[in-house]
Structures are given as structure tokens and as C-alpha cells.
Amino acid sequence: MSEPRIGVYVCHCGFNIAGTVDVKKVVEFAKNLPNVVVAKEYVFMCSEPGQDLIKEDIKANNLNRIVVAACSPSLHEVTFRTAIKEAGLNKYLLEMANIREHCSWVHHDKEKATEKAKEIVRMAVAKARYLEPLEELEVGAETSALVLGGGIAGIRAALELANYGFHVYLVEKSPTIGGKAALIGYIDPQTKGAEVVSKMIDKIKECPRIQVLTNAELIQLGGFVGNYNAKIRINPRFVNERCTLCGECEEVCPVEVANEYNFGLSRRKAIFLPFANAYPPYYAIDYRVCVKCGECEKVCRFRAINLKEEAKILELKVGTLIVATGYDPYRPFKGEYGYGLHPNILTLFQLERLLDPDSPTKGELIIGGKIPKNIAFIQCVGSRNTTPGAKEYCSRMCCTTAINSAIKIKERYPNTNVYILYKDIMTYGSDETLYEEAGKKLVNFIKFEEKIPKVLITPEGLFIEVFEYTIQENIRIPVDAIVLSIGMLPPRDIEELIAVTRVSCGGEGFVREAHLKLAPVEAPTKGIFLAGCITGPKNILESIRMGSAAAAKAMALLSKGKITIEPMIAQVNEEKCSGCAICVGVCPYSAISIKTVNGDRIAHVEKALCMGCGTCSAACPSGAMQHLGFKDLQLLAQTRAVFGGEVHG
């Protein structure tokens, strides 16, 4: 590479930088740094004229390295890389000096901030002197997808992907797809959850490109975008497709447990059908509770049951992974608003189930044996810091769901008094009309603030005591039933999900997206997308749209059948490598192996597998393994430049 000719461009970012950093001084300072040919300032470097300024200079001054002192590289590195590429320079000959997030925005003393900005620029220039041109790589990509989670978001994503011509594996942990939406009585005043789900399931049945794997979990994920190797364990269902749903097995089964598909409102056997429209439409045996007595096997006339069935491991090659494993309902602790202490205190999910025509009461609102005359909803159970166990976030769907149910109750049982005790009613957007409607139907809204309602269980019955905000008085409401509007929790097994897929979590415990605003369905890892409540509470419509969007993003990425790989990966200097193999053991992606070249053991990096973490480069005892873009020399130069020193090499 020829002698570095560096251009330094210092951005004002309007006031954001220029307000705290004396940009002119930084430019003057930069002019005197080694190899710097030009140094300039501009009000918005990222704007078109700002970029043009750089492009023109590259041509006019024959620049071969560019330093942009502006914001964080996470914002505009791509912008400027593209710009210098347009000017004919290799796009990796750019270094960003972060003088905004790291300087002007966090310091107030103008003099000190200016000094710091100078040093940040000096560090960037020092690294830039050792930058090298890098080339991107292309690898083939599978147009197939693994969708994790057979809830409504996952189903939507699978359908969309199939529509785009992808082969889809829809992996669901439980014996049926449909998720929780299938269990919700009414998801809006006109629409039954079960109906929507069965319509979607019908489409899946018709679609040959979707392979549904129930009782299945992802246990290992290797490979990389476009070329994932997924290992799926399919736990035995013990019942095969010969099952006719006759139900005789269920009658003879001696084991009875709470039915999680009715949120514990009823009991089921160890062999069971989750719900009427479950898919695939066969019974399943819950292997965790089955005692293997063999009664069901004996009674089944269709030989649909095989208790000797074993878990199977399936190895799949897929191009992308969509994570849509949803949420868990908040689990109130015993005694939280009397939960668990009185049979007439139930959760919103149980109520929803009760109102479903397929429920144990056939859709009738029967609690504790009768239709309640007074029923109260308590909102924000488990959300918005109401109780010690509660989360800080708002669970987004509970207000609308509770109000929707209240309206349904009022429609069918006009004599029942409905109370909704709330902090703030979160019927955002068009859902507001439901709130209005509920008001018209004389649902009683009772606002509380910091002091949360108290549930009193007395011999005379249930009471709620609450400090009513608008009258500023304690009131006591006699009720027959209480519905706790529980929020959402990250799914219980999110730790395993993280361990296998390497997605990461934000502070609230849900999976983090690549960018909260502008990349809401992408995981930070290329090729992994997110849909539904796995990134945080959402309502059904939002989950569905997210499923569509995640599929769309996956399609856009893979539809060409090839993927471009960032070139900032590990590279071996074969002259130096002695084949000591320490790098092989540290690589988390098994991207390095030892090969024999001309009789010498040499480390070999599988470029497509390398994700560019650089840990091999840190471990390499001989300096043979280098992390392109973060080479020893580049980082040393940056380090030394903090103190005004230089490296030679």
C-alpha cells in the first residue's frame, strides 16, 4: 500500500458537536498529524454536500484514508463507507472518530471537550494510517427457514415465507400449534381467537412447503446466515396419524392433571387433545406425567398409540431463523390480590378461556357455580410496578383485552355490574373506541394511583377496597368474582433460547432487536429475525404484522440465494503461523482448523464461518492470526496515540 494520505473531516452536527467542541481547533490540530493531507469541517458531514466534500477531496487530493470525526460509527459508518466507495476508495479505508456520543454530549467544559476531541481524532488518524483495503465475500444461501414458535406470529411468518417460495420448518414445543391466541375467546368484539387461528391453520394444511414439527425444540444451532445447521429434538408424542380422535384412550387414562390449555380451569388426562381445533389433529401423551400403564394402547382400536416411541433428532439446513416463541402470562404470587386464596379470583387468561364457546362452561360466564352479579377487573397485575413482583413495563394488551371482555359480559349479562380498576387505560390508537363503547355500556371505571386496591376475603364474601382517585376516597365494592388482568413475562425458557440461538436480552428480559426504532424485527445477529411478543408485549395484530415483517426481511436477505459476508474476519499470516492450534480451541464458531501446507501445519480460517470476534487474534501467541480491521498494529497505534506515541511496523 502506498504512503497514507489521510483526509480528516470534522462534523459540527449542527449544535450537537460544535456546541461543546471547538471544531476549528480540532481541524487545525488534525492538519498537523502525521500523514494528514487535508482537514476540514462542515455543519452536517452526513448530509449530501458533506459527503460530496469528502468525495471531491478524495479525487482532488488523491486521499487514500479517510477519518470522519462525527458521531458513533454505529450511526454513520455505513454512510461514509458508501460515500468513499463512490469516490473510488475501498470502503474499509475509513475510520470514525466518535466525538459526539463520546465527547460533546457527555462533557460540558468546552476546553476539556476540545482537548479530548483532538485526542480522539489523533487516535483515529493513528489507526487510519494502518488501515488496509478489504473485500467482501459472497456465499450461497438456502432459501429455507426455521420458524421457532407456532403461535400466531410464527404461523404468520411461516405462511408468508411459504408464499415467497421458502421451505419452512415450523417448530413448536407443545403438541399443537396455535399458541395463546387460539385460547382467547374474543380478540376483538367480532373476532374469535380460535376462528382466526383455525383459518390460519387451514392455510398451513394446504401449504406443502410448510412442515410442522410439534413437540419439538431447537437444541443446537450451528453455521451462519444462509447456511444454518439446526438440530431439532422431536419428543415422542406416542400417538400417530392413525388417531381418529375417538377419545376412548382419554377415558381409560388414569392420570389427571390441570389442563394448561384451559389455564387450569379444568383437568385433563395424560393423553389428551389440547383443544378442539388443535393441529396436528391427534391426541398426544404428556410424557412428563404419563405412568406408562399401557391402558390407552390396549383400548385404541386404530393402533395409533405406541408407548415405546422415542425422541428423534432431526438435522436441518436452513437459511434463516425466525424466533417467535412468544411470552408467558405473568404468574401472580399466592395472595397477590387474593390470588390462589379464593376460587372466584381468576386471571384474565382464565376469563378469556371461560368466554370461549369451547370452554368447560361452553362460553358461559359461570364462576364459582353461578353467574356473578358483580365482577371486577384489576388492571396492571404484574405490570407497571404495582406489586413487588411486578415488572416496570406496561404489558400493552391487557387494558384492551379486559375492556373487550367487559363489553362482551355486558352484552350477554346486562344485569352484571362490571368494574375495571385501573391506573391508566391504555387503549391507544383506534382501540380507544372500545373504551368509549365500554363507557356507554356502563362499565364502571375506577382509577387508582400508587395505592393499589386491596382484595378482602371475608365470610360475607369478596370485597375490593380501593382509594378512588377521582373522589379521593376509600371505597369498598362487594364483588362475586375478580379478574386479575395479568401482564406478560418473557418466556420461561428464554435462557435456553439465548444459549442456543445467541440472541440477547434487554433490561426488561425480552429479546433485544437490532434497533428499537428502525430494525424492530431483526436480531443483532445477521440472519435471525424476531416476531411477536419475544421482543416485548404486543397485541395479536401487532404480533401478526411482525410475523409478516420478519418473513419479509428474511426473504429480502435470502431471495438472491447468496449472502455477502463482511470482510472484517480473521486472517492467518502463513509465514508466521506455526500451527500451534491454540486458535482452534478458542474459536466459538469452529471456523479454524489446522491444515498441512507444504509439510507445515498452518491454521486455516473458514471465512464464511468466521463472525469476526477476533478472540483468536488475541490468543495467537505468535501474532500470525490477525483480525482484519482490528489488527494488532491498528489497535496498538490507536493505544499509543492516546499518549501521542506512534508505532512502527
Partner: protein, 343 residues
Amino acid sequence: MSEKPKVAWYWCASCGGCEESFVDLAERLLKVFETFDIVFCPVAMDFKREDVEKLPDGSIAVSLINGGIRMKEHEEMVKLLRKKSNIVIAYGACSAWGGVPGLANLYNLDEIVERKYLEIPTIENPKEILPTKKTIVNIPEAKIKAELELPEPLPTLLPIDKVIDVDYYIPGCPPTPDVFWNALQALLTGNLPPKGTVIGALQRSLCDECLLNETKPEKLLVKEFKRVEKAIPEPNKCLLAQGFLCMGPVTRGGCTALCIKANMPCTGCFGILDGVVDYGGKAISYFGSILDYSPMEEKEIKKAFESIPDWIGTIYRYSLPSAKLSHRAGLKRSKLMKEVFEI
């Protein structure tokens, strides 16, 4: 008189091993005497400092210097040789990186003197006599009466390149005859690499020539570190893979893996490779890398690290004075310097 190139050989803080290695050239030594004219060599010949001072600047073709700079005298002598020589070669680990005597940089001079003259078990010094700057030597029988003056010690030991410009390095503690011979060949033929590099040895690390390199498992991960004092290595199996702290991966090759052939882990005497900035830093990095525990298993990690009593002696056995942190922080100007040498 003679037209043969002049060679000087000087020793600084040295154990004598390097001089020994010269003798180890055996019959090849004759060739050396044929080729070179030795103008200074305190170990074998009675040339004096004045003899060197008299030579014109740059008239010595090659000066070989072994041992690190421990005393003012060393500093003066290497500076003098630099002036008089065309090429200066740091010969052996001490001269190149400080060597084993360089580990003294962990201590104050006083601590070293006290240890050396009073504390170590093999010393008997009931009167607690310590060195003094001036000593009167009076042997009436031989009619000798003289005042001897000890050269002033420096607070730390330095590799010679911290005092003068060094052209080439010949590694080893001591350099093996083959390495020395290779270097001499290179000097004679003029087939020399860029200034400041090592001659006579390999560009790759020791593993490259180690016969046990092939025996490495696919993933080199260990659960504990072992020492030869406490465990006997299995033969014919990579020592590092067994948990022995072999410095082979981080050490320059060229010795033909002599120690490992004797079932001893490499201790690193061939020193740092080109492109590596700090020998010990790199060693730490790969020892940390191959230890197979998660941070959750803090106790196991600590235990593994604590099983090695002398980490500095392990990772910087031959190179502490040339490391980025070349001596212990907070070393004090010694009492000895103040009281004895009045400085």
C-alpha cells in the same frame, strides 16, 4: 596488519553460558579464527579498554555483546563498542532482553544485595560484610597495595538495546552452536535481514519444529496447569495439551526443540517473535485461552492460576527488562547507591 575483519566480544551481566556456547562451536571455531581477527575479548584475551579506545571509529566489523547492562561500566563499554563497530550484535537472551538476571528488576538494589550477601542459605557471612565502593587491597608479601573501586550499579538491569542501537540479535540462553553458526554465515555472506531483527533462528514459533506439534488434540483446552517439579509428563504428547506451561507457542523456534526432546517444556529462551509486542502479555493471553472454565467457575480458575507460584518467572524468564512493564513499579533509589556510591 591483517586484512581480516575485526571482531570484538564483550560480556556484560552474564553467567558465562554464552562464552561457553562459543567454545561449543568445537572444530568450527578454527574457521572463526581463520576468518576473523579478534580485537577484544575479556573472557579469553588480555585486551584492555584503552586498546579499544585507540581503534578508529567504525573499524570493528562486528561486536558481539552478551549479558545485560547492570553497571555503569557495562553502559560505558557498550557505548564505546557501538562507536567503534560497524555491526553490533546482542548475543544471547540476557543481552537481547535481559535474561534471567533481568528478573532482578522486581527488586530494589538493596533487597538484591541483602539477599545475595546475607540471606541466601548457601552464604555464610556472620560479620554481615557488604560491598563498599572502595576497597584497599593490601598484600604485603606480594608488595601489592592498591585501591580498587567497584563500578556503580544501575537501579535496574537493561537489555543492551535500551542503551545503544543494536543491529542484530542472536537468541538463546545460550544460543545453540547451530544458531550461532547460522548467524556467522549470514554475517559472512552479507545475506542479512533488515536491521533490528533476529538472525540465525526461525521466523515461526517453536511449535513449528517441535515433533510433538502433531500430537495436539483438535481443541487445545486444559483444566489445570502442571509443573515438571510436581508431575512427570507423558512422553510423545504435546506438553501444553497435558497442562504443562510450555512457552513453545510464543517463543521463537530455531533451537530444534531441544528441551522438549528431553521431555521438558520450553521456558522461552529464544524469546519474542517479530510482530509480538510483549512476550509475557501474549503468554498470559494463550494460557488464559486454553483454560477451559467459564467465569462462573471462579474458584476453579483461581485454583488453576494459583497452582503456579511464580508467574512472572514463568512468562518473563528471559525477557522482563524488555517487557512493556520492564520492572516493578515504585522501585526506590537504593540505600546502597546513596551511602556507598554517594549518589
